[in-house]
Symmetry: C2
Subunit: 477 residues, 2 copies
Amino acid sequence: MKKNLFLFFSILAFISCNQKQEKTIISTSLTSEEKIDSTKIKTVFNSALTEGKSYEWLRDLTQNIGGRLSGSPEAQKAVEWGEKIMKEVGLDSVWLQPVMVPHWVRGEKEIATYTTNGVQKNVPVCALGFSISTPKEGVLAEVIEVKSLDEARALGDKMKGKIVFFNRPFDNTLINTFRAYGGCVGQRVRGAAVCGQFGAKGVIVRSMTNSVDDFPHTGTMSYGNLPKDKYIPAAAISSKAANILSDDLQKNPNLKFYFKQNCKTLPDAPSFNVVGEIKGSETPENIFVVGGHLDSWDLGEGAHDDGTGVVQSLEVAYLFKKNNIKPKNTLRVVFFMNEENGTRGAKKYAELAKLNKENHIGGLESDAGGHTPRGFSIDANSDNTKLVQSWKKLLSPYGLHDLDKGGSGADISPLKGENVTLVGYRPDSQRYFDYHHTSRDTFDKVNKRELELGSASMASIIYLMDKYLYSNTPVKP
Amino acid sequence: MKKNLFLFFSILAFISCNQKQEKTIISTSLTSEEKIDSTKIKTVFNSALTEGKSYEWLRDLTQNIGGRLSGSPEAQKAVEWGEKIMKEVGLDSVWLQPVMVPHWVRGEKEIATYTTNGVQKNVPVCALGFSISTPKEGVLAEVIEVKSLDEARALGDKMKGKIVFFNRPFDNTLINTFRAYGGCVGQRVRGAAVCGQFGAKGVIVRSMTNSVDDFPHTGTMSYGNLPKDKYIPAAAISSKAANILSDDLQKNPNLKFYFKQNCKTLPDAPSFNVVGEIKGSETPENIFVVGGHLDSWDLGEGAHDDGTGVVQSLEVAYLFKKNNIKPKNTLRVVFFMNEENGTRGAKKYAELAKLNKENHIGGLESDAGGHTPRGFSIDANSDNTKLVQSWKKLLSPYGLHDLDKGGSGADISPLKGENVTLVGYRPDSQRYFDYHHTSRDTFDKVNKRELELGSASMASIIYLMDKYLYSNTPVKP
């Protein structure tokens, strides 16, 4: 018996060891107003975690519609889906904003291969968005490996007739993986523009990821000012294939790489931003936007990029309604179209806001994945930045410690202005580039609680912005 | 062309929006000593993220050995594996500490089923650790559902001949999921002891998880002081099955539930803690322990519980050696045996430490999964707690914001003492109970960067403890 009792106490020890006390949410060090806020925020979190809708919405969007590149039939279905669920949530009004979007199609699945030392190696490959197709017979050429655009430029005419292989890896020592992305993505975006100029036959680019795996990452590219007759095809290969190719080139610098892709850019297509709002109870002419982007790349299901941002944005409004929180200012939810290859939706939204003389006082964007919450980055004037940072004690019990100055998001940044407070939702970034723009960006990679905690985090900061930025902002004359 | 240029700038906007600036690691607000520490910590993180070994060690342990319950052949293989890799890392000495461990075996796969409204439902089920088997023909009985041990006790003799169904779900509003676990696990541990007393035929327990899914979670239970002839079989059913059964019982309170399991407890078996150390350069008689547990439940591969803790603990020593950090005190790595069902390894380690008059000045345990780092909980006297908390500015650039008072871990807590500073590594807890004690606790659920960030976090706090607790601790006479 003693043995069993000892066991029991050991288990209790395990639990108590791991069971860090939930931090006191309603602390005595809070002012009475802050206690009200703290209670409201707790209500919002409880609601998201027990009656949230975002996970099932995301399942529907990702698994029943799937990848939804601008101009595709799936993007159109996503627009209809977006309008329908906004109405189901019971927003005061829901409408579509027409916008013409680029329409690039991948076509038949790409292939890439090379033979070295008598061994044929098949390479996981995908075309980059906006790339032209290869000739029908594909491209076969020797390869020159470089690590940067500057290194490529320095090659000049030496690249003529060759395939240029951009193989700069992520700097894995950067804790924020978006920074590593920023350090590499130039080769994807500008590689073909630089190399087309010197008569290269094509570019292949190492996939944008921290990991070494078999999944090619697509993403947009641009030919910039290059004359059309100098356009060359651009593709991404998996990071593991990039390592192997690099090794093989060391041993056999004259090996010939082959790839074939069938993509093309069609004429611009009609599409829509999906917009809905809860009218403000006191100053409805002042507007807060919360949004994510509805389009996604075609290879996966657009789950973390950016299905999660879409459903979390709507869940902010859902949580307000469910918990009878009436915003003083108008709370507008926007599912932006075409963030991935054009940001035409964002541009259109800002253009119409200006045209209609709308007074946007703030915005929140979720487009960094649906992982566990870490905080927000703040793009605002100095007073409002300090104000947002003063909410740290209210937000940190939920793991929201990061409240740094920084960007907000590609879709809301066109709304930027001296008195506009923009924030970007910042979940943990460690896993994001395992999935980003690949066939792995699927529903099963999203954790329900992490998603819901994100919705609640976003609703909490919108609650605070609505309450405190309100009195802080000049009312429209 | 304008269109393409606009595209390019949009991409740059996306990047800069998401690319929160890496916080200045070496801030001007640090003292010169803190700058040295900050540089050292950065070195440790860079090293873990670029030349870490933990991920490949974990692959080997989980995929080549797999689940390794105390007393099993796999646990013995894990001991041999542990000794081998400790030697490979080049610790100054490596040895095994013999310890007798409980030896429970699951036997043939369990089954559970019931029929309601003419429909037969198969229930995902597993025996709880230390449970007795059912009779060969299984147990078939009516079911009484309860939500707590108190509710069960109140039933008294009414449960005679019945199966008691403990169906208390996790409180999902608790942000720290370990707290939700703490609120429910009593029914798993003590359910059979309470109900055996009143002549129930068996207990089935809702799995310990935040999610609603098809995976039964095993875990240890105890019959406490119950006489042996009153022992009854105890099993866990999946959370989804628990919800369905609960619904079915509403409609058909007399339905009969059937389950059959084939587990038994064999005589105690010989096993080992695996221990290795780097001798201290100044006061080698003072010891810091860093550890995780080598045993695991049998259903999965013991990846997050606690393969990650094992490989991270060894990686602390690896990072010290690789970066030529010589601890002043002895740094001892321990792979504890039998945390899951007995903590005999922990008890033996503490017993031998006392017997050998070893002076343990601190310890660090990793047994809360291998997810993204959040902080440490501190079990120490008030001065040392404040000292550890004063390192926040050095640790927070790596996402280590949580430095609260709390437990450390089941394996190191027997070393507790007035001048012993124990800390528990606290990664993000949101996904942990999706996998804990199930067949899903496999290698593929662990993210390489998250694992490595954990190793580096642990090495960083051990570096600080070694440096600053050192002068703080009375030297052994």
